[in-house]
Subunit: 442 residues, 2 copies
């Protein structure tokens, strides 16, 4: 499953200068997929298939028109002509892999293909600042897991301190169906939701703006070929059904959630909006950064056979450094930059993406190409790795102090949350996910 090839070669550099900067998320070794539009394209409303390279967007749709792509890669470009990546992803990972290979050669500053593309750069490259980035797929279904065990323990400790982790946690990759319609690309403002709060058996709830608005740091992944209803995907093959990854913010209204969620789970407390970063970092680009799945303590049960795959145990995890920054109205007015409040890593997931996908289909549920699956909040074991305000402030009781002296227990109007993700490993070029940003408005 883990194959390294010339696209991962750390010596490969690009004729797009910004792609060779050490701090870019998008060196030639990454090449994530997205959907964009731009006033620089006529008509400006049309959506093209793009690949991020340094500070630019490489127009895959135009590259195909110019005859720069061939075979499966040309087909891959055509499959995105509707302005979403669903049809491309429906073909599984092979066309995406071939496209990434050919685009890598086209952007290489030492190849003949690169020389040819470079001559056409005016028609192929746009500054990302001149592009609008859209959802990469039309998300037919969105599922959110609960695979961050440190999050589950931290959240459970606030509700049921005597028994923080549910009895099923180490057996079942717990998940719920999220709301597909309200998934939005990074940058979309988040309106503070209204909802019922404060109810209890002996007390009437009130209805109004959420007072405990929060974020959750997650990763998302996109389904490729999908499966037919009634035909589960074995865990050993599940990785092949995952085309790529992004960052995901599962905005949550804690006061609404607490009151509404028994017995059927979260509903209005989460369906007012979910943000994703616009670039799909392919599973191929992430190959160098795979790692063994989280080590289970000896006292933990082994996964049931339908969730057990030795290969996945070796490569099921991903080493992605994750960070959360916050900026407030007052900070921006004072010229202060966003401040980092959380630092975590995707390696803390108890269940691997392959296990999540296999479990999702194990009862027969069909996954459709382009469906979005969230991992659940990825907290780590230390204080600064608690990846939501609920956890970080211990249920709002220990607010975070910001550089300008402001305090935050939960999000205020004007607060902006930014996620980043970076993959680093000796011998490889660092790649990143771009950002997932959302600002709260009243």
């Amino acid at each position: 499953m883990i194959e390294l090839d010339a696209t991962h070669d750390p010596k490969r550099t690009s004729w797009v200068d910004s792609a060779n900067a050490p701090d870019t998320d998008f060196p030639i070794q990454n090449l994530p997929f997205g959907i964009f539009s731009s006033d620089l394209i006529a008509p400006a409303v049309s959506r093209h298939f793009g690949i991020a390279i340094g500070a630019s967007v490489f127009d895959v749709t135009r590259a195909k028109q110019l005859g720069l792509l061939e075979g499966l890669a040309a087909k891959a470009a055509d499959l995105a002509s509707a302005g979403t990546l669903n049809e491309l992803f429906a073909q599984g990972r092979a066309p995406s892999r071939e496209l990434r290979k050919q685009v890598s050669a086209l952007l290489d500053d030492k190849s003949a293909e690169g020389e040819r593309a470079r001559a056409l750069r005016e028609q192929l490259l746009y500054p990302v600042s001149a592009c609008e980035l859209h959802l990469p797929t039309a998300v037919g279904n969105y599922t959110d897991f609960y695979s961050g065990i440190h999050h589950a323990i931290a959240a459970g400790s606030l509700l049921t301190p005597e028994n923080p982790l549910p009895a099923n946690y180490k057996w079942v990759p717990i998940a719920y169906h999220g709301r597909a319609s309200s998934v939005r690309p990074s940058g979309t403002q988040i309106r503070r939701p209204h909802g019922q709060q404060g109810g209890a058996a002996d007390r009437a709830p009130t209805f109004g703006p959420s007072q405990r608005l929060d974020f959750e740091l997650e990763m998302g992944f996109y389904v490729g070929a999908g499966n037919a209803l009634g035909e589960p995907v074995p865990v050993a093959q599940a990785g092949d059904y995952i085309v790529g990854f992004s960052l995901l913010n599962d905005w949550s209204a804690r006061d609404v959630q607490r009151w509404e969620m028994f017995p059927l789970g979260p509903f209005l407390s989460k369906n007012f909006g979910t943000s994703v970063s616009p670039w799909v970092v392919t599973a191929d680009a992430l190959a160098p950064f795979r790692m063994p799945a989280m080590t289970r303590p000896a006292s933990d049960p082994q996964p049931l056979p339908y969730l057990h795959d030795p290969v996945d145990q070796r490569h099921g995890g991903i080493d992605v450094d994750l960070s959360v920054k916050l900026s407030t109205d007052a900070m921006r007015a004072a010229g202060l930059p966003a401040t980092q409040i959380i630092h975590s890593n995707a390696q803390y997931l108890y269940w691997t993406p392959a296990q999540m996908l296999a479990h999702h289909t194990s009862g027969g549920c069909d996954l459709l190409p382009g469906d979005l699956i969230g991992t659940g909040t990825i907290s780590g074991p230390t204080r600064d790795q608690l990846s939501s305000l609920l956890e970080l402030t211990f249920g709002g009781t220990q607010p975070v102090t910001l550089p300008n002296g402001e305090q935050r227990a939960f999000l205020q109007d004007g607060d902006e949350i930014t996620f980043h993700g970076r993959c680093q490993r000796a011998g490889f070029v660092t790649i990143g996910f771009g950002s997932c940003v959302g600002r709260i408005v009243a």
Copy 2:
């Protein structure tokens, strides 16, 4: 909101003879919408917009081609040209209302329009037995409520007998997001799902075929115009966002559900399949059968203002008689007909469809045209109104005895479940929903 017109006139009869039979679900006063294909249409793969009339399907797509529809009704037919009703529903209730009016006139045995259509009947009518009925919309999102209070009490009694109804129940129209991808039209076989069962804090679960497979008797309704993200629909207008209703079977694996659902709600226990009856009975056709919302005991709280609408309280309920029939392999082998095991009525819903829809949007969640919303299991207060096997058999402890002596605690392979729904009221012609059928296969 409740408007009666000539389409409800009990004296109107049709030149389609089967529509005048007293036991038909589809007299000329009904005219429900659906999507069908037929070998009688060339090409057989094309999906046409149809309206049920007696034992026939009236081809709306063809009627438009023949010039029988005009104005908004002609536009309504065009909006379904993609083979789904999503685009039609996106226009709100007006085009559907006008189409139903014009088709009523076309099928009338005493009108000039009817005479004209009757002359073209060979091109307009197909026996329903020669048609395949599809999902009426491409279901982008499916939400399932929990609005049957007798179900909530019965189910809660099995889990937490000391406190059967959750503390939030009389304040919050509880719901969860269901799985849109696995919604299927009536007649689709249901494969018995595998899943984890029997786990507990001190006991390992096993994985295998569900041993406690069940159904839930619900109604579904379809979203019309939808709303933008962040813009709630007031309860007083919510009825206008509901185009029509169907029957819905929320198949459930009770053993899987019990183990997996804490804390985030049902997931694999329900996402292996949901069945809907194929005909959308329009809100217009149901106008004569609206009734006051369920009477709340004086000790119950009044709905919060965002859920309170005096008009909806007068007309929010629907008087739909609901029944569940079961037939087994052995019964069919012995030539025995399906036996009725449950009889209920939609009037037992604690929350009205308008309240459900208003609540759904109250935090800002966007509903899309053609989205499907389930009411939750509609049990009544008496024993034979308990509308799932879980309730009817008291958690499987008191099996139902069938006419041939077989017993059922939960569903066996080969068992077929059929829902029916009928609306009766003095002074009006009875209308029905057709059937929602599913058979269990291994």
